[in-house]
């Protein structure tokens, strides 16, 4: 997976094996913490995978907002002279909390959990999960998919037909 940079002509590529490995790590975190929902996204706000109750939460929107949250706090950290970006953000609600963590600086782990679950426990298990994910991602840098099949002209033609259909239903 290419995880150095996303967007701006530098796509983030996620192999099937990597997707499976990340999903397994998230499942493990979900079962250990009893978190309601866990989301893994990239820092550009693209959702990657999720675990737990996902039907009530719009995962795409939550990922975009989580990325915006991190981008805003990164600027705040600069303003107060922090040399590195903040790694964790915690939002405390009456019934539900959100604990957001930066993974490798390029990804976000969002843990949504009941407020009766101790934050300390979430922090400990999340930290272990981040270590696992970072190890996985650092190995993945060497494992960028190298298939030779490209998005071609035919794809563009079909895409335009789908676009027409999308607005003419």
């Amino acid at each position: 997976m290419n995880i150095d940079r996303g967007g701006n002509g530098q796509p983030v590529l996620l192999s099937g094996e990597m997707y499976k490995a990340i999903s397994e790590i998230l499942s493990d975190l979900a079962s250990k913490t009893r978190a309601k929902t866990i989301i893994f996204a990239d820092m550009n706000g693209h959702p990657i995978t999720q675990r737990g109750q996902t039907s009530e939460i719009n995962i795409s929107n939550m990922s975009a907002l989580a990325a915006g949250d991190f981008a805003a706090t990164a600027e705040m950290s600069k303003m107060i002279g922090e040399e590195s970006k903040f790694k964790y953000i915690f939002h405390e609600g009456e019934k539900t909390n959100i604990y957001l963590s930066s993974v490798s600086g390029n990804f976000i782990l969002v843990v949504i959990f009941d407020s009766n679950i101790a934050l300390g426990m979430i922090r400990i298990f999340t930290k272990r999960t981040i270590d696992k994910l970072e190890e996985l991602l650092s190995n993945a840098k060497k494992d960028t998919p190298t298939d030779t099949k490209y998005i071609d002209v035919e794809f563009s033609n079909y895409l335009n037909k789908e676009l027409d259909k999308a607005f003419d239903f």
């Binding site: 997707y19 795409s60 998005i151 079909y158």
Partner: protein, 196 residues
């Protein structure tokens, strides 16, 4: 751009950029209201009490499966006011394409130019330029009586000769052609391997 081989998903980020009150959010609202509901998520607006964009608006648009791949487009707007320069830069990060929404009114020409320079500076900071990055121009508010003519706007703003569209976003005129154009530009630049 994010490619998930396991799900055959390709996600793109498209950002609507432009001066304050030029109609960026109006573009998104029209797209959201007129898109097949099976293909869209909610429209999120992070705005001030005065209903001006504070941080960004966001919606996701999906398309049906194309040659086994599912493209998804994440559409963002930036806040237009000068004071939100940092927010604009943050939202631009990771963008694959830009729609620059210009206000066609004569008295807004300088603000259009200033915002275009602001865009260029922000692109440079992420290693891109207006010359190389996929973007399109939309001359909005063509229904207002005090519009500059297109030739003049083209001369002032479209020095890179990118595709341009005239629009009245509040009535939906020109909105979808603009979106289609930027999506096509982004796709045509795409030269990345994609698994079957």
């Amino acid at each position: 751009m994010f490619i998930n081989y396991a799900l055959n998903e390709i996600q793109f980020k498209i950002v609507y950029y432009g001066p304050g009150l030029s109609g960026k959010t109006t573009n998104l609202i029209y797209i959201h209201n007129n898109l097949d509901k099976k293909l869209k998520g909610d429209l999120i607006k992070i705005e001030t009490k005065e209903e001006r964009t504070l941080y960004f608006d966001f919606m996701q648009m999906e398309l049906g499966s194309i040659k086994g791949k599912k493209p998804k487009f994440n559409l963002y707007t930036v806040p237009g006011q000068v004071s939100y320069s940092i927010s604009r830069k943050l939202i631009l990060n990771g963008a694959d394409g830009i729609v620059f929404v210009a206000d066609s009114q004569k008295e807004r020409i300088d603000e259009n130019l200033e915002t275009l320079y602001d865009l260029e500076l922000n692109l440079i900071s992420i290693g891109e330029t207006l010359q190389t990055f996929p973007w399109v121009l939309q001359y909005n508010k063509r229904d207002l009586p005090n519009c500059s003519n297109i030739e003049k706007l083209q001369k002032k703003l479209n020095f890179h000769r990118v595709p341009y569209f005239t629009s009245v976003a509040s009535k939906g005129i020109g909105v979808v052609p603009t979106l289609k154009s930027i999506i096509n530009q982004v796709i045509s630049k795409l030269q990345v391997p994609v698994k079957n």
